[in-house]
Symmetry: C2
Subunit: 426 residues, 2 copies
């Protein structure tokens, strides 16, 4: 990394020593897990570059945007509507989590049995190693699970401008009214933050920008229906992850370029794994960078991941927003409609998610489902049990995994995943 | 127990063998924990009788009510408004939890790291040992924590008539609107269940009945401000617990009779523990019958419990409902206002609870606070950390306890509580 970046990180208040250690671990993991893969599409060079500059060039770009008067908004959840942020001429970025930092200090603020993702978000703040968080003019939290809801009360003492968005728990008329009111309140907050009045034109353009990003990602993900699959699950996960970080237009163009290459691969029946390799759908909790543990174990065990039913995956991105409205009200209503479809396990009941898992099993010709639950993530761990039952009732094999960001259970997970993959072989 | 009860339990579908075992354990625990206490007020005979007949006479009364056409509604939470149930000429009872049953089967439906209270509710159903649950014409669940919210999805498959009430997570205008809409929906559901149209007169009378019950309990609880305290914390907890089970009018009259006796005790400076005994406020999760473990340990360690900041305690009962409205709408609005004040840890932020804890410390002259958290109860375990910090900032000693319904940790708890009590001695 250049000296420019070091002074940039210092200016952001990062702990350079801890941050160097993070980048070292991240770099090693990326080499061992990603670059060691065989027959990767050439277009993955884009993601390799993004990841190599994830705390460098991308942060510099954000700081340049700030210098030019643009606001940076950080979030931890797919319920924060990027459309509204963009329409206010601001930039939305996903915030760091996915690795354990400063756990001793974190566990003075949060119970030990809090899910790894929440503890990680605190660790990145306390450890001063997340340049995205330190660049953000506003951080948007949201009342999804109890864990995040209560954690934001403590995080609020550590972050200057934390905005908390309320979310419904049921898909009722009242639930929709709450989401609408909260998105209206968020729109007003964005206007105050940026000094920009959101117009129908700006909202429509923002909707189209985000839709294009989602559509490009869908195009990539849907190519995995082929056998052999033209791209590994690890690489597809990376596309799902970078979705939250990179400039939207560049992401869209780069992913579409990879898709052109993948389509040729599909036509030539060229894949990263042999045809007939057991195909697995991952369903459950989000997997944030650099939490590549489970997909790495799965694809090292002789299976290929063909889909992610996850917020970092199709749950977060599959729905597009209707862009045909002509007024701010109509377009805002379309945004509410779009996000109200997200089938997060915080909703009760949540039949759409089960339906979507089955749909994905069919569409991607998956041989089995691995349900990924972060330890102490109550909503997904609880929903995992009826999901497993419903899948097994239809003779779809399912393996429930409960894990965290540590590597202590990697051996045990490997054994369980290998046994499951054996089961899927014809 | 008489033979009548056995045939009654058989008719209810209880597992007689398991139920006998439960009553045996309950009876022994009651003798060892409650009846072994010294200098109990005579009026406690009422509670002793209620507890000895908790699965007998009280169930027979409910079945007699049912035979006369009255509906029985069961609930697990203080957000289910008894006023509305009574106004529809139905009876509300709290449902069983507080002990572990059929855990092996429960853990096939719920993750192992679900809180003991939720697992217990499932255990009572699966083990067929809760005559209240089996007597209920409708069971009302509610979206408080993630654990209960998602658990009701599974419980719904085991209970014929489960009604789920949505609840807000923030005390915003939208939050209040949601609670109002949900109470209106619940009122309509009660009218359908009972065939009774709720009138303003019935609602007013119901409000007065429930207010009288709460006022009697407050009268009892507030007498514990005296030193020596005229009643033990164990006995006061029992009053808080029986609040959920017994006939409202009888409860009110019996508690007021005990209060007459306690007032004499206070005037004569007669107490169950010597003056100057360290005084403890318990704050946190609800303690359902027969979960008497922690208060028993505390009062065996030479301290006296002077208050419960809990749903089974002042959080659940301290607010009365304004009964001055003249129309159904006005009275329903008063009910919404009353329940919207409940400072459950599911709300974010939840400053009222911290204020109330401090108020109770002052009012009851508590020397310290023991925060009682059920293992895996995220909302209270998370809130416990800032609560402890805020109390210690004001030099109020606080001990955070995390436990379940098992007795495995009793020795360790005893050691910690004894050390804490030592600390409180002058």
């Amino acid at each position: 990394m250049s000296d420019d970046y070091r002074s940039m990180w210092t200016d952001l208040g990062l702990d350079l020593e801890a941050h160097d250690a993070l980048l070292g671990v991240l770099g090693n993991a990326y080499r061992e897990i990603y670059l060691a893969q065989q027959d990767r599409p050439e277009g993955m060079g884009y993601f390799d570059f993004v990841m190599s500059e994830v705390h460098g060039l991308r942060i510099k770009e954000l700081l340049d945007e700030k210098a030019a008067g643009r606001k940076i908004v950080g979030s931890y959840c797919v319920f924060v509507p990027e459309e509204i942020v963009l329409a206010a001429n601001a930039t939305l970025v996903g915030l760091c989590s996915g690795a354990d930092f400063a756990m001793e200090e974190v566990e003075m603020l949060l119970p030990r049995n809090t899910c790894a993702l929440i503890k990680s978000a605190f660790g990145f703040k306390i450890g001063k190693v997340c340049p995205y968080l330190e660049s953000a003019d506003m951080v948007v939290g949201e009342n999804t699970c109890d864990g995040k809801k209560k954690a934001y009360e403590s995080l609020g003492h550590m972050i200057e401008n934390l905005y908390v968005m309320d979310l419904p728990q049921m898909k009722s008329d009242q639930g929709r009214a709450l989401l609408k009111a909260e998105y209206d309140r968020f729109k007003a907050a964005m206007e105050v933050l940026t000094g920009v009045t959101i117009t129908a034109d700006a909202l429509k353009e923002a909707i189209r920008t985000v839709n294009a990003k989602r559509a490009a990602l869908h195009r990539l993900l849907s190519l995995r229906a082929a056998d052999p699959t033209p791209i590994s699950g690890l690489d597809a996960l990376l596309a799902n992850q970078v979705f939250f970080y990179d400039n939207p237009a560049r992401f869209t163009a780069s992913v579409n370029a990879i898709c052109d290459e993948l389509e040729k691969r599909v036509a030539q029946q060229q894949g990263v794994f042999a045809a007939g390799t057991p195909r697995i759908l991952i369903s459950g909790c989000p997997q944030a960078v650099p939490n590549w543990k489970l997909p790495w174990i799965i694809e090292s065990a002789g299976a290929v991941i063909v889909g992610e039913e996850s917020c970092v995956g199709e749950r977060g991105t599959r729905h597009l927003t209707d862009d045909t409205g002509r007024t701010v009200d109509e377009l805002m209503a379309a945004i509410v409609d779009r996000y109200f479809q997200v089938d997060c396990a915080i909703f009760t009941p949540n039949p759409d998610r089960l339906m979507h898992i089955k749909e994905m099993v069919g569409a991607y010709h998956a041989d089995g489902v691995i349900h990924y639950g972060l330890q102490f993530c109550q909503p997904y761990l609880m929903e995992a049990i009826p999901v497993e039952k419903a899948l097994e009732d239809e003779n779809i094999p399912c393996l429930r995994i409960e894990t965290d960001y540590g590597m202590e259970d990697a051996g045990q997970l490997k054994t369980r995943v290998e046994a499951f993959v054996e089961l899927l072989k014809p």
